[in-house]
Subunit: 240 residues, 2 copies
């Protein structure tokens, strides 16, 4: 259920705590959008064989790493300073956990950029790019939605992301099967197909992280930890 | 540097806090050893083509997931009840972060168990098993050492784990290269080799998680966050 920010963030320990939390959330979103851009650029570098852009993604990963440490620090300072009650505390800790997911999405973007460099040297767009484009659009949308769900505290949107992840997993399986067939047809395809395989795997992992972020958003809104809970049960909770 | 537990855990907010922390750490280790056993069993299931054992690993993953939630809960309760100062707070949060790593090692063990099932149906031990055995021994040792480093607050041992990870990365690259060659020799090898490839990737990820845990141990002992810091710089810190 979508709740307005006041009902979730309001009525907490103190006005100061709410201000701290708003600032923490803003920084989280800033990192989130940066990581999303990293992923967009990594995919574009792959598709266009653009080594320069791939290098840029690899370099920018240091900034993402730095943001992770900064937000962690900020969260610890808020807890130490405001000593929030258990429920508020969980909100701050949820942000720290989601930051770890974002950092890993950044790592996957870096891996894709590396594969983009390797593949651009091979010339000639290999098979599997159609699938890469399709799945990357899908997980980028999931990541965007997860960030939006966080920004708007929209647990229905978060639930939708979790459902999309099941579809991405199927798409991923189909894509790897088709690449496997292509490898079997001609052994000269193997090396390039393997690079594409790793890209697909990285994208599938991004979907998982978007899903993790959504789980935390649902927890923030509904107050229940739904990690490791079947989606059907979560559906009942959110639709309540 | 190895420090005795008193110098790290002593002198904190309160006697009660220290007791809570000791209990949290014990639970963390319990989960750590369970995850290590899961990994050991997954590898054994793969090597022996033992589908029964592989199924057991897949089922036990639910227990690992449950432990993660329980330890997280325990950590939040400690923070809310004891309202520790920033330095103590960081110790508790470090445990929560390490628990996330352990949970992911559990996931990798589950993935390996799945591959074990797939491969056991194919009969005939495929190429790459020598490499799998070697790398799995290596990362199991790293995971063990990371847990020991945590138990004994031994930052030198933690640093050693981080250095080992570089070696595992090289071993992993060599193993995938040799599998690639084998796939090129005969297309009938491709499908089985791909399964082994995923196992190797899972093991490489376990090495990364052991490394993450070690980074947190160094932070707990030395008081400095060394995530995203080059190993050489960490070396100076620990040797200080």
């Amino acid at each position: 259920m979508k709740k307005d920010n006041n009902s979730v963030y309001g009525g907490h320990t103190s006005h100061e705590f709410n201000e701290d939390l708003a600032s923490l959330n803003a920084d989280f979103l800033k990192m989130g959008y940066m990581v999303r851009d990293q992923l967009t650029n990594a995919i574009a570098a792959l598709m266009d064989g653009d080594g320069f852009r791939a290098d840029e993604v690899r370099n920018n990963d240091k900034i993402v790493d730095k943001l992770e440490l900064e937000i962690d620090d900020e969260a610890v300072r808020i807890i130490a300073r405001r000593q929030p009650a258990a429920i508020d505390l969980r909100l701050v800790i949820a942000v720290m956990k989601m930051v770890a997911d974002l950092e890993r999405v950044g790592d996957e973007a870096k891996k894709i950029a590396k594969s983009a460099l390797a593949l651009s040297e091979e010339g000639q767009a290999p098979r599997g790019y159609v699938e890469v484009r399709h799945i990357s659009n899908h997980v980028l949308e999931m990541l965007n939605d997860a960030l939006d769900a966080f920004a708007r505290l929209d647990s229905e949107l978060a639930l939708r992301v979790m459902k999309e992840d099941k579809i991405v997993d199927e798409e991923y399986k189909a894509a790897t099967r088709s690449l496997l067939t292509f490898m079997m047809e001609d052994t000269r395809n193997i090396s390039r197909c393997m690079s594409v395989m790793w890209v697909l795997r990285a994208l599938e992992r991004v979907g998982d992280h978007a899903c993790n972020i959504s789980e935390h958003v649902i927890f923030m809104v509904e107050g229940e930890d739904i990690r490791h809970t079947p989606v059907e049960d979560t559906e009942k909770l959110v639709g309540r």
